[in-house]
């Protein structure tokens, strides 16, 4: 695959954006897969967390089409187990924020099923993660 110069620049910008938002060194990841092995939500992801780490290292914006960072429950299991000390939950948050800051909400408050029975702790945490 050949990548032209414009594409390289675009990728660099995306990498820098994720690094700045997350405060993490993405290139610390050496693909050991421990984050994916321990992730409690991994069975519902279309790309496992270590795969997302590789895609952001490559500056591939197609990573934003994956559901991984929405399915992430911010449980920090990957953070505490990463042998390179990368806070992967912060990388997931950065990807969520890139979408949310474009006014692209993931959850439509009006369409929530059974909202009456949900406690406020569930609703507030959900809206904090899924709406801008």
């Amino acid at each position: 695959m050949q990548i032209n110069e414009g594409e390289i620049e675009k990728r660099d910008i995306f990498i820098k954006q994720v690094e700045e938002l997350s405060g993490q060194n993405l290139f610390g990841c050496y693909q050991c897969g421990r984050c994916s092995a321990g992730c409690p939500m991994v069975s519902r992801m279309d790309a496992i967390p270590s795969m997302v780490m590789r895609l952001v290292q490559l500056g591939d914006e197609k990573v934003l089409d994956k559901n991984t960072y929405w399915v992430c429950a911010s449980c920090y299991t990957c953070d505490v187990r990463c042998p390179k000390g990368i806070d992967i939950a912060k990388v997931m948050e950065a990807l969520r924020q890139i979408k949310l800051r474009k006014n692209l909400n993931y959850v439509d408050i009006k369409k929530i099923d059974g909202i009456e029975e949900l406690p406020q702790i569930a609703l507030i945490s959900n809206f904090r993660k899924y709406t801008g």
Binding site: E20, L21, S22, G23, P40, M41, R44, V71, A73, S74, C75, Y76, T77, D79, V80, D87, A89, K90, E93, A94, Q97, V107, I112, D113, E117, L118, P119, Q120, I121, A122, L123, I124, S125, N126, R128, K129, Y130
Partner: protein
């Protein structure tokens, strides 16, 4: 001893029995939990992006109230009960210490209150009981015993992660087992003690939470527990109230009652459990152990 205490939204509604039992039990130890004046929502989840100071403001405001009340009471401690409140407040407190520039920005923005000086110590009640009261003293003060009630201690995510705010070992925590063991309960080995319950997915991805609850409750039973004990109102909703949805998907599923740890401490010290506050009634389990 009077200590400032931050309740949070759930303890004033769905988890009122959590607050009530904690206040009652603390009294038996000579500790008065003094509710923060003018407290506001903690935000429930900590904002993880580096530039998002705005979402830390709610916590900083609470820390200012804790600082001012603490000055009156002669303490720098703030006690929380809800695991989510604990985590959010503790993470912002850490950030205030590590990033003085961000704290300055927050202080400048909150112009109707004194500045937060970054000196409050945020404690979960479990840590407070362990470090400042001691479990041995609790065992002496509490007259009753839990008659060998078999429990699966469930910590979830936010009491043990991330590293800089954990209350105990993040893979094999023992605080709940030690504390409840001191008052006569028997905590079983429970591999799912620090597994996520699905958290806020309960709103838009209920199926994921149903799977998690099914696995966690069944595992607790396989390990010999008769009830689950925890400290987070969202985990409580997912593990207790969502059992109704689990039953709808898995008809052979056997429900299991879920307690807040303070309910059991209060029970051990002679108070009654408010059985109506539970979705899965704990009456049969309590009867089985003569409680």
């Amino acid at each position: 001893m009077k200590i400032p205490y931050f309740p949070g939204c759930s303890l004033k509604s769905d988890a009122a029995h959590f607050e009530q039992s904690a206040i009652e039990f603390s009294k038996t130890l000579g500790v008065e939990l003094v509710e923060l004046p003018n407290w506001n929502c903690c935000g429930t989840v900590h904002s993880l992006t580096t530039d998002d100071i705005m979402h830390h403001l709610a916590c900083v405001r609470n820390m200012v109230h804790a600082q001012e009340l603490g000055k009156q009471l002669g303490t720098n401690k703030l006690i929380t009960l809800c695991a989510m409140c604990y985590n959010t407040l503790a993470q912002v407190n850490e950030l205030a210490k590590k990033k003085p520039d961000d704290l300055k920005t927050a202080n400048e923005f909150i112009d109707d209150l004194p500045d937060y000086e970054g000196k409050v110590e945020v404690l979960h009640l479990l840590t407070f009981l362990n470090n400042y009261v001691s479990f041995e003293k609790i065992a002496k003060v509490v007259k009753g015993r839990l008659n060998g009630l078999k429990l699966a201690p469930y910590y979830g995510c936010l009491l043990v992660r991330p590293e800089h705010v954990k209350v105990d070992d993040r893979e094999r925590p023992v605080l709940l087992s030690k504390l409840l063991g001191m008052v006569g309960a028997k905590c079983v080995e429970f591999p799912y003690a620090v597994e996520c319950c699905g958290s806020y997915h309960t709103v838009n991805l209920k199926e994921a939470v149903i799977e998690k609850t099914y696995t966690i409750v069944n595992n607790a039973r396989e390990n010999g527990a008769d009830a689950i004990v925890l400290s987070c109102p969202l985990c409580e909703f997912n593990l207790d109230k969502r059992q109704k949805d689990v039953k709808a998907v898995y008809p052979t599923f056997e429900p299991m009652p879920v307690f807040y740890f303070t309910e059991l401490l209060a029970l051990a010290s002679g108070k009654k459990v408010n059985v109506n506050a539970h979705y899965v009634s704990p009456e049969n389990v309590l009867r089985k152990y003569g409680l």
